[in-house]
């Protein structure tokens, strides 16, 4: 989406901001060290599910905000899938107006407290920070985003923006994960009547069932939802579109546009012998039991989980890191990441890998499971693995792992979490007539507009991408909202 450079310039040319820029020279600003995120001690973390990163103090935040050079042509914004006015909000922090900084964030991002925590800033905004060219650590944009939105929330200063003139057109979002929430927030701000349908009993999709409390406290997710409700978004839980209610029925009820953000539900398994043994979970199941169903509080909560002492998590992504760090908190003596490539190729965020290591997680890289061995009750007891070498680069640009013959050995395990990815959930594509589905089961859309083969149906997030990040899903939700607005206002002029 193009950034409105005129708005950015007008924002930057405000008197206070020019004055603020003049207070310190670029040289002085760039000489300041990057702030370190305060965090809980690793031993303390292992004892429970408290958030690991504890957040910047006002002092630290204002100091970090000074590092931002307030570039006249900021490059950081181009790295943000939702085009946050980054210098704009950072300078408000430097000025000390934290609530205004939060409002600036919310002009473009409905979920800043979430993004500040889970976005991979190191490959997005921060990767495009001007400091990179100077071979200096980038401005800690993510920490600052989190700081501003936390301040506003904790101060009870959340202000609901004025809604544009009411547009009497009903639109629906299917699923309530980050793509749908972003879509819903944007459409509501433009005055549309938005209803979000969620299949589960809890809202927010992967933010609720997937990402653990220690990385994203659920109280924050709830307050972001409350903000959307204040914007007028209606949420319907326990409604499975395509099952409980069909798209055609929603059309009959007056819904004129649909955004499908149903996610990449179906967990992948490796289809190796013994994989259905007791104690072998998909990462989706493991995390859902713990995060959504609160199995870590069993038996106070009714949903149980196998609390393994020797836990192997297969995979090298963020979901694998979330799973293995969850295992640590559930009392594992030995928690292992088993990954077939080397640490360099791991898709997980560096911060997550680093935190996992601090918490005592072992990394068995260039190692791949080939069989699980169970006892007479069917409970997994051992895992046969194979050592891998790295061959030539594959389609993903990463070097392809190649099995080393004769390198097999056994590892004792009592819990295994398979975190090797997901496929798109088949329920929605199966249920909507006329929609085009790729061979991977994803919904095919126009990449510019996120519009599907059915004109009133748009889609975004993992149901289109097959497995990506929160922020890319949010970017899709935003793009779809803009395109749907244009489509609907064109189709129903005078609304």
């Amino acid at each position: 989406m193009p950034v409105d450079t005129l708005d950015l310039q007008a924002d930057r040319n405000q008197e206070w901001r020019s004055a603020l820029r003049g207070r310190l020279s670029a040289k002085e600003r760039s000489a300041l060290p990057r702030v370190k995120m305060p965090e809980l001690d690793a031993r303390e973390r292992r004892m429970g599910f408290r958030e690991v990163n504890t957040g910047l103090s006002e002092e630290l935040a204002m100091q970090e905000a000074k590092r931002c050079l307030d570039c006249s042509a900021p490059t950081c914004i181009s790295g943000c899938p939702v085009n946050i006015n980054i210098p704009g909000f950072i300078k408000l922090i430097e000025k000390g107006d934290f609530n205004a900084a939060a409002r600036k964030l919310k002009e473009t991002n409905a979920l800043p407290a979430v993004c500040g925590r889970v976005c991979p800033q190191e490959i997005q905004c921060e990767a495009n920070c001007v400091y990179q060219k100077m071979k200096k650590p980038p401005v800690a944009i993510g920490y600052l985003e989190r700081f501003a939105s936390d301040c506003e929330r904790l101060a009870g200063a959340v202000v609901v923006p004025k809604i544009a003139d009411r547009v009497p057109i009903r639109v629906a979002a299917v699923g309530s994960g980050p793509a749908s929430l972003t879509f819903a927030g944007q459409m509501a701000k433009w005055g549309f009547q938005v209803t979000v349908f969620e299949a589960l009993h809890e809202l927010a999709g992967v933010l609720s069932y997937g990402i653990p409390e220690f990385r994203l406290p659920k109280s924050i997710v709830r307050s972001e939802i409350a903000y959307l409700e204040a914007l007028g978004v209606v949420f319907e839980r326990n409604v499975i579109v395509g099952k409980t209610v069909a798209i055609e029925e929603l059309r009959d009820q007056g819904f004129r546009g649909f955004f499908i953000g149903s996610g990449a539900g179906l967990p992948k398994f490796m289809h190796i012998p013994g994989e259905n043994s007791i104690g072998i979970y998909s990462s989706n199941e493991y995390l859902t039991r713990v995060n959504l169903m609160k199995a870590y509080q069993f038996p106070e909560y009714d949903t149980p989980i196998v609390r393994g002492k020797r836990v192997a998590v297969i995979g090298g992504g963020n979901t694998a890191m979330d799973s293995v760090r969850t295992a640590v908190r559930l009392g594992a003596d030995r928690a292992m990441i088993v990954y077939r490539r080397s640490e360099q190729e791991m898709p997980a965020r560096i911060e997550e890998v680093h935190h996992a290591k601090e918490e005592g997680v072992e990394f068995l890289t260039l190692t791949n499971p080939i069989e699980y061995i169970a006892d007479s009750e069917g409970r997994v007891r051992q895992m046969k693995v194979q050592k891998m070498g790295l061959g030539a680069a594959d389609d993903s640009g990463r070097r392809r792992p190649v099995a080393i013959a004769g390198s097999e050995y056994l590892i004792d395990v009592d819990t295994v979490v398979v975190g090797v990815g997901t496929d798109p959930n088949p329920l929605i594509p199966r249920a909507i007539q006329g929609i085009e589905v790729s061979k991977w089961g994803t919904i095919v859309v126009n990449e510019e507009t996120m519009q599907s083969a059915v004109p009133d149906i748009f889609a975004g997030g993992d149901i289109v991408r097959g497995g990506a990040t929160v922020i890319l899903a949010m970017g899709d939700g935003k793009k779809a909202a803009a395109a749907m607005r244009e489509y609907l206002l064109g189709k129903f002029p005078g609304s």
Binding site: A199, L200, H201, Y209, R237, N238, V239, I240, K243, T244, V245, G265, L266, P267, F269, H271, E275, N276, I278, G279, Y281, S282, N284, E285, T288, R289, L292, M293, K294, F298, P299, E300, Y301, D302, T303, P304, V306, E377, G378, N425, P426, L427
Partner: protein, 275 residues
């Protein structure tokens, strides 16, 4: 919130609840299930829809007391509510006119069998039901089945009602006696396993409806996975019905026992909380 409008005790351990669920009542077909949750701390429990009333907007659930969650559900009275009910989930039964259909139900499995058997009968099939239970007191829905079935054969372990013996005895009598074009087996895993072994010997196509452990019920977690013909399938989105001759019952039985110890611990705590 879904209100309980009617409650009937069918046997010492089995309760029938009629629940307000307007959308689901209009959408459900035989063979489908719902996921329910009783309270904020409750599990997500899959329950097959035993009946539905579109006009009144209700569905019927038949629940056997086994542990904490099922006791929480069976403990509900008219006026109480389930916190969450979502569905209808799973693929509906493929119903067509085949000739003679043999509906085999064991224990509380007779509940999900009932709407499927009725649908086959309504599609023009001759419907023979073989119902099995430990004793007369535990046998459910016999009268309801008899209302439409061409024949109902009852088997009890202790001979207190119908014939004495396990369900496969009654099933085999029918298989010996006349051609059967399809068998439907629903009940405890062991009952389905042996029924399937038997119908295989007689080369009668057979479907079984599985009730595995689930969490979300929408294809997201894989807790419900079973091996069917050597392939891993998800009961929630690929099932709940599969070719009964291809299911790996032993693996399924083991997986059903995953949380045996935890379930006991939870149930002990629950019973203590009641006293």
């Amino acid at each position: 919130m879904n209100k309980v409008v009617e409650k009937t005790v069918l046997s010492e351990n089995v309760v029938k609840l009629v629940i307000e669920a307007a959308l689901i009542s209009r959408k459900q077909s035989p063979g489908q299930f719902v996921i329910v949750r009783t309270d904020e701390k409750g599990e997500r429990i899959p329950l097959t829809i035993a009946d539905a009333d579109r006009e009144n907007g209700t569905i019927t659930l038949i629940v056997q007391k086994v542990g904490t969650s099922s006791c929480k559900i069976t403990g509900l009275n008219p006026g109480d509510s389930l916190l969450d009910v979502s569905g209808p989930l799973g693929r509906p039964t493929h119903v067509e006119k085949l000739g003679t259909v043999l509906a085999c139900g064991g224990g509380v499995g007779i509940a999900p069998l009932y709407p499927i058997a009725r649908a086959f009968q309504q599609a023009g099939n001759k419907l023979i039901a073989v119902l099995g239970a430990r004793n007369r007191e535990l046998l459910i829905l016999e009268r309801e089945m008899a209302a439409f079935a061409d024949e109902v054969i009852v088997m009890t372990d202790d001979g207190s009602h119908g014939r004495k013996g396990v369900i496969t005895v009654g099933v085999e009598d029918v298989l010996k006696r006349e051609p059967v074009h399809l068998a439907v087996a629903i009940g405890p895993a062991v009952m389905m396993k042996f029924t399937a072994l038997l119908t295989k010997r007689y080369s009668v196509p057979t479907i079984a409806s599985l009730n595995t452990i689930m969490v979300d019920g929408t294809g997201m977690c894989g807790a419900c996975r079973v091996s069917v013909g050597g392939k891993t399938r998800f009961v929630c989105v690929d099932g709940p019905e599969f070719d009964a001759h291809l299911i790996d019952y032993d693996e399924m039985i083991q997986r059903l026992n995953t949380y045996k110890a935890e379930e006991r611990k939870s149930f002990d705590g629950y019973l203590k909380s009641l006293s």
